[in-house]
Symmetry: C2
Subunit: 364 residues, 2 copies
């Protein structure tokens, strides 16, 4: 049911954004557009600051600009201590920090912010997939009421982390996860039929903006492994990145090159990938880039040869897909599928987390 028009609970939420890049900017647009609707539903969402790496804006500097973020803003040098002190305020208000940076230094501050009562929401994978002791400190800091949410770290706006959480919270047990968590690698595997060299497809994907600036960052499988670690930990398994068996598509000779020489040496990918696709075709199968976690806690990211009847064989070009096998869904698993990257859908995943926290706020 739609957010009800209500007079029952008027709650105020101060929001600060760290990292106004592509996702952060899309989120600011979405929040701004939603403010009137949220106000009718009893939520007074107030943007109190935006911090980039070098400079920041606080609403006290431009009170008339609230909710807008334009060139007339007054910027001061960035200082995250001052930023969060301002965000928290001194009147016991609800405060929420959104980290849309890709910064490990910012992730290292979550525990401290949460302990001081600031909710944290992020699409940044570094805290959830990074050192386990840092994540445990973050979890411990949540014991006092502030919440940490990160739906958009896995498959952007697709309902993945919350879905797994709901399965577990209602008493289900996770048996296995399989997924394709990289739209880039999904596209490359979908298109790689052996007719064109794999390197030509990587060049095309690069030109289309589907890959990272250095395509090795996609082809290494590391980003996919991070997502698998996040889901495993969500299910209570103490997995770390080092525990994931990752089959990198990047041969050592290509890995050794400086970044500016990579694009002209992509042909180094071709021999191995041609063998893989030929092997799949000989068996009447398809090649897919699959992350999986089994009931014994074994985690891997690799090229898999799948029968054409497999659900992963029929995804649309750049789709992500995740399949949960649980005690309740053990005969037929649950699947969620769709685009798993892009500023708008990633921002919407962050926004959903914000709404989930806002629903739980007490009137102050």
């Amino acid at each position: 049911m739609a957010l009800p028009t209500t007079t029952a609970r008027q709650r105020a939420l101060a929001v600060g954004l760290v990292g106004p890049g592509r996702v952060g900017s899309a989120l600011l647009d979405q929040l701004r557009a939603a403010q009137p609707r949220l106000a009718r539903a009893g939520l007074d969402l107030r943007l109190c600051g935006v911090a980039a790496s070098r400079r920041m804006w606080l609403d006290i500097d431009d009170p008339e600009l609230n909710g807008r973020h334009d060139s007339a803003q007054t910027w001061r040098p960035s200082n995250l201590d001052d930023f969060t002190a301002h965000l928290r305020g001194d009147d016991g208000r609800h405060a929420l920090l959104i980290d849309c940076s890709a910064s490990d230094a910012v992730a290292s501050r979550y525990a401290q912010w949460l302990a001081s009562g600031i909710h944290v929401v992020t699409p940044n994978k570094l805290a959830s997939s990074g050192p386990l002791d840092r994540l445990q400190a973050i979890q411990a800091a949540c014991g006092h009421g502030a919440r940490f949410r990160y739906e958009a770290t896995v498959c952007a706006g697709l309902p993945v982390v919350q879905t797994l959480r709901d399965l577990l919270d209602t008493g289900d047990e996770l048996l296995a996860v399989e997924g394709m968590f990289s739209g880039t690698l999904a596209w490359l595997c979908n298109r790689h039929d052996g007719n064109r060299p794999f390197s030509a497809l990587v060049r095309e994907a690069h030109a289309l903006g589907y890959t990272e600036p250095d395509p090795r960052d996609d082809l290494s499988g590391l980003d996919v492994a991070r997502k698998l670690v996040i889901l495993a930990r969500e299910a209570g398994w103490s997995l770390s990145l080092d525990d994931v068996e990752v089959q990198s598509l990047v041969p050592p000779e290509l890995a050794a090159l400086p970044a500016d020489e990579v694009m002209e040496h992509l042909h180094l990918l071709d021999a191995s990938m041609a063998r893989h696709v030929a092997q799949a075709q000989t068996q009447g199968c398809v090649l897919r880039h699959v992350a999986s976690l089994d009931a014994k806690g074994h985690a891997s990211v690799r090229l898999a040869v799948l029968p054409v009847s497999h659900p992963f064989a029929h995804t649309r070009l750049t789709d992500n897909i995740v399949q949960f096998t649980t005690h309740r869904y053990r005969e037929n698993p649950m699947l969620v599928q769709g685009p798993g990257a892009g500023p708008e859908v990633t921002a919407a995943g962050v926004f959903t987390d914000l709404l989930r926290i806002a629903e739980s706020l007490e009137v102050r």
Copy 2:
């Protein structure tokens, strides 16, 4: 992240169940198993009563039995007024009523209960898909803080209603919904390859317990149409059952028979279904039972001839699937797929709604 162990917010929630049938009993089992875990997370869930159609149990009658539901219980004649008065209590506690009945009379009381502050959660489709004025009264009654949730009305425990809600609440716009909302009809269409008469498949599905006792209740498409109405209304479209163009698979001669003569006259289904599947096969396509809602608000439930490349062509036997096309997901839609029926997964969908409400409770 797992429900944190917390001392920050201890909330109590009184729960009453109407309709202890297969879903209701599965839910009682799940709630009972979860109580210790929820208590550690700060939620004191207390089962205060269970009402069947003729008799009811209140915890004041057997204080030592709380959370259990067994043969030693003291039952009294059912009276929903007394039941809800007891559930609400007189100390301003949070109260939540779960309706697992299939009763229209119970659905007619939601508005009154919500207005009195009792949250309502249900897998019963009658309120959400029934008369629009009744649903509007329910929505109006939510304006004072009590909440009405019904995730399990569509595809049981799959994240469908909440996913649509999140898309809309974050500012996305629904353009179209397509889905297969009947596991029974999905199974029948998947298996119907023209080699065996359709009636033989219906008999087999009936013997396996996949169909309603009277299989016409599945074949009519009415239950699927109700789910489509629920999703359309979720998106703010004032659709009613009468607005859905429903292609019933039941020919008039079969529809006219009394219930006890249906099974021996299932052959009346065969000629028409054989034509449909032959037509699909001639085009190299498959036959699927599809509910759809387009951007113009046109809603239909029908047999569709789909190319083998369509995502609905490759579902597992009894899977439900729903595809949302929205402004943000307009190139590649979002898909959720999996078993959409069964007591355990339906109960888990209800339980998820309960948890969502519990998260939002203020400490009292």
